[in-house]
């Protein structure tokens, strides 16, 4: 058997086993990391002793990073649903007439300006701005760095998540809305039972991307004195003079949180997928799997 045929055979066998695939990917990542560390240790750049002695040093900072990210993401999520709704549907109302137009014009303007302001400035700048302002308002309060930083992340992710929801809501077809109206649903019911559940399925992946991006952006809070992961790593690096070890450790913590999370969401999404909506069963495939997709797809396709 040639090398190419062998690779294809392995790939085919792995196709139906996403968990095994993920395990191999994560195992490969661990192996590479370990090889890198051992290699660097062998040439004397990295001290294994230092790594072992400080193995748990980043545990509490990791919790700080996670809390700030989870909290700001959740608040941003809740706020992005109504704001995404305004972004998605106000333009249509604005083409009409009457009091609705008068009410929605300033609202749409405000939400759009907010989104543009957030997307058009660096997150770093937003974090500094919020930190300075909250420091002025509450001088000397020891909790202010954390809460100010979390507020800044919330302000940031709200802008991005609003656009994610706008896209999700807009990609729910108008024919779905018309059908819901035709069975007597009120506008609120149409939103709750049709637009929202369909939209959420369409934006699972972009939302995970946003979460991962936000978690990584939380490293910027190190520069406004929040004792989170990067701050702790810098402490190890600067005060204990082992910067390379410190940054290897902090990278490992980020990877250990982000990679399993992405894999878990992907697994959940496939497990709960609805035929014809959102994530495809498999986008690439050979052999058997393609046949499965074809059998589940009747005339008329997946529209």
């Amino acid at each position: 058997m040639g090398l190419k045929a062998a690779a294809k055979e392995i790939w085919t066998r792995l196709e139906d086993r996403p968990v095994l695939r993920s395990a191999i990917a994560i195992g490969g990542l661990l192996g590479l990391g370990l090889a890198l560390v051992l290699g660097l240790a062998a040439v004397g750049i990295v001290s294994l002793r230092f790594l072992a002695d400080n193995a748990t040093f980043l545990a509490v900072p990791a919790l700080t990073s996670l809390s700030a990210t989870l909290l700001s993401f959740a608040i941003g999520f809740a706020g992005a649903i109504p704001m995404g709704l305004v972004r998605a549907f106000a333009p249509r109302i604005l083409r009409g007439e009457g009091w609705r137009r008068a009410a929605f014009a300033p609202l749409y303007g405000a939400v759009t300006s907010y989104v543009e302001a957030i997307r058009g400035t660096p997150a770093f700048v937003q974090i500094f701005l919020v930190a300075q302002v909250s420091g002025l308002i509450f001088p000397g309060n020891p909790n202010i760095p954390f809460w100010g930083g979390t507020l800044a992340l919330t302000i940031n992710t709200l802008g991005y998540q609003t656009e994610v929801f706008r896209a999700g809501f807009q990609s729910v077809g108008q024919s779905q809305v018309e059908a819901a109206k035709s069975i007597g649903m009120r506008p609120v019911q149409v939103f709750l039972h049709i637009t929202l559940p369909q939209g959420l399925r369409l934006i699972t992946l972009p939302l995970v991307n946003e979460w991962v991006g936000l978690f990584k952006a939380s490293a910027l809070l190190a520069y406004v004195a929040v004792p989170e992961l990067l701050w702790a790593a810098s402490y190890l690096g600067n005060n204990r003079s082992h910067p390379i070890e410190a940054f290897i450790m902090v990278s490992s913590v980020y990877l250990a949180i982000i990679v399993p999370l992405s894999k878990a969401v992907g697994w959940w999404e496939r497990k709960h997928r609805i035929p014809g909506l959102g994530v495809a069963e498999r986008t690439v495939g050979v052999g058997r799997r393609r046949a499965v997709v074809a059998a589940g797809t009747p005339a008329g396709g997946l529209d």
């Binding site: 779905q176 109206k181 069975i183 039972h193 609805i274 014809g276 909506l277």
Partner: protein, 241 residues
């Protein structure tokens, strides 16, 4: 049952309906034919207020429904609608598609709604497809689920907007059979369609529209076999070709 009086509708500068009137008696089936762009779909949407008429009245069962005091949601519970492209809710399976109106609009409990939805699926011959999602059903099956969804709310009348136009030829029959059975059971129906066989066999009245006006109306025999107006003759000649 359904009376439309002198209804006008503009979309911007486009005068889509120019004073349309019609009457459907209880238990009758009215078939509306006409070239595309003649306002047939807009007329249907004016009856259940998916489109608000600019002038004129729509009266259902003695109630003037295009009145600001009447909630359009209430009207749409009285008059079901079946769409050209089915419009089943893609995130719900067949059973849930039929149930959702009973649960959320009629506020029935789960068990009652499910029993009723299963009965409606049975009526359109799809009891065995309750768990299938729309993407797993053929066009004909999807349209039959859509009919069950409309019927579940126990409407006084059902509007069909070209229900077989988006179907592959092999699936048209099963949908027309369901509609024929429904008409025989005495459902009041307004059907926009170009299925002449169906119109001939099932319609009590046929109405020919062009350019936003009713050109001619009569029994199927009158409109198809002895059309009086030139435009009707030309159109009928083409479709019966």
């Amino acid at each position: 049952m359904i009376t439309v009086q002198n209804v006008h509708k503009w979309f911007g500068d486009l005068h889509v309906l120019k004073g349309v009137s019609l009457q459907v008696n209880k238990g009758d089936a009215l078939v509306v034919i006409g070239p595309s762009g003649s306002g047939k779909s807009t007329l249907l949407r004016c009856i259940n207020l998916l489109v608000q008429p600019d002038e004129g009245d729509v009266i259902i069962d003695g109630v003037k429904v295009n009145d600001p005091r009447i909630r359009p949601e209430w009207v749409r519970q009285q008059v079901g609608m079946v769409f050209q492209s089915f419009n089943l809710f893609t995130h719900l399976n067949a059973l849930e598609n039929v149930m959702i109106g009973l649960r959320k609009v009629k506020r029935m409990d789960r068990a009652g709604a499910e029993q009723m939805a299963r009965f409606e699926l049975e009526r359109v011959g799809l009891a065995d497809k309750a768990d299938a999602y729309p993407a797993q059903l053929s066009g004909g099956q999807q349209q039959r689920v859509a009919i069950a969804r409309a019927l579940a709310l126990n409407p006084k009348a059902v509007l069909f907007d070209e229900p077989t136009s988006a179907l592959d030829p092999e699936f048209i029959r099963e949908v027309l059979d369901v509609m024929t059975k429904l008409a025989e059971e005495g459902m009041t129906m307004v059907v926009v369609t170009h299925e002449m066989g169906f119109a001939h066999n099932v319609a009590d009245r046929v109405l020919f529209m062009a350019d936003g006006v009713v050109v001619e109306e009569g029994t199927p025999d009158e409109v198809f076999d002895r059309p009086q107006k030139e435009r009707t003759q030309a159109f009928v000649g083409k479709i019966l070709g």
